[in-house]
Amino acid sequence: MSSLFIAGHEFHSRLFTGTGKYASADAMMDSLIASESELVTLSLRRMDLKNQTDNILQPLQQQGIKLLPNTSGARTAKEAVFAAELAREALQTNWVKLEIHPDPRYLMPDGMETLLAAEDLIKKGFVVMPYVHADPVLCKRLEEVGCQCVMPLGSPIGSNMGLASRPFLEIIIEQSTIPVIVDAGIGAPSDASLAMEIGADAVLVNTAMAVAKEPAKMSKAFRLAVEAGRMAYESGLGERRVQAHATSPLTDFLGALS
């Protein structure tokens, strides 16, 4: 499997993961190690002044995993830029997963605000990874303003509905000259495999791993699925046909029996 490069950084794994929804920090670490993921997302929130929060940073850093803060919670471009600037200080990284979803029910990303924020953040020196609808026009615009990749959704965040947006993902992949990472909605390893088979450069999975009965085992399943899908893509899948095409030569050596 070939390496993936984003903003000059080499990734050996094409499976990116989130850290949300795990039952415990230990379960999260076991799962991330099993996934062999080299990039994981984190969020920011106002500090809880009364309680000490679980320190998940230290084990992640010890493992050498690259951290990708998101701007979750931002409803406008202005809020997202502020969140990115805070995250850069908090985690000492200029990488940011830009996500702006004003609607809490479907968490649909706001494309217009995302484009505005992306332009601003790129001017400020960020490596911007925008989470967007599977909108080929928007993805092209984001590429033009200098995003280092795009992250179109498969289906709503946490829905486990897989690649509901497949036809549009295929257009994005065909047109894009920057990496395409399918994010959100990937509910089963087969969804991840399919994304890789149609040519996605990577996938980002969180919920499906975190809520599994055995998260570490599920993460390994996703790792294998991503590798299988990518290898299938790289080796070239056969063409689809309506009619059968024999795999054995159709000789008439049994003709003597008739």
Binding site: T19, Y22, S43, R46, L49, T53, S72, F82, L91
Partner: protein, 65 residues
């Protein structure tokens, strides 16, 4: 003196941002601070003095997707 910390009134004996963090007894890893809507880089925490009614927001990194 009184500052506004994460939208709540907070009584603080005075000093710098670094003093405030020490007072809160919080792990400093993964933290970002903004005063009056401006992010304060970590390198300036030691020298940034808080004033009466300073609007301070402290953020922390948590799990998320």
């Amino acid at each position: 003196m009184n500052i506004v910390l994460n939208d709540m009134s907070y009584e603080f004996s005075g000093g710098t941002l670094q003093d405030l963090l020490a007072h809160l007894d919080k792990n400093e890893q993964g933290i970002a601070i903004a005063i009056n809507q401006q992010v304060v880089p970590k390198s300036l925490w030691r020298t940034t003095e808080l004033n009466e009614q300073s609007q301070v927001f402290i953020f922390e990194s948590i799990a998320g997707g």
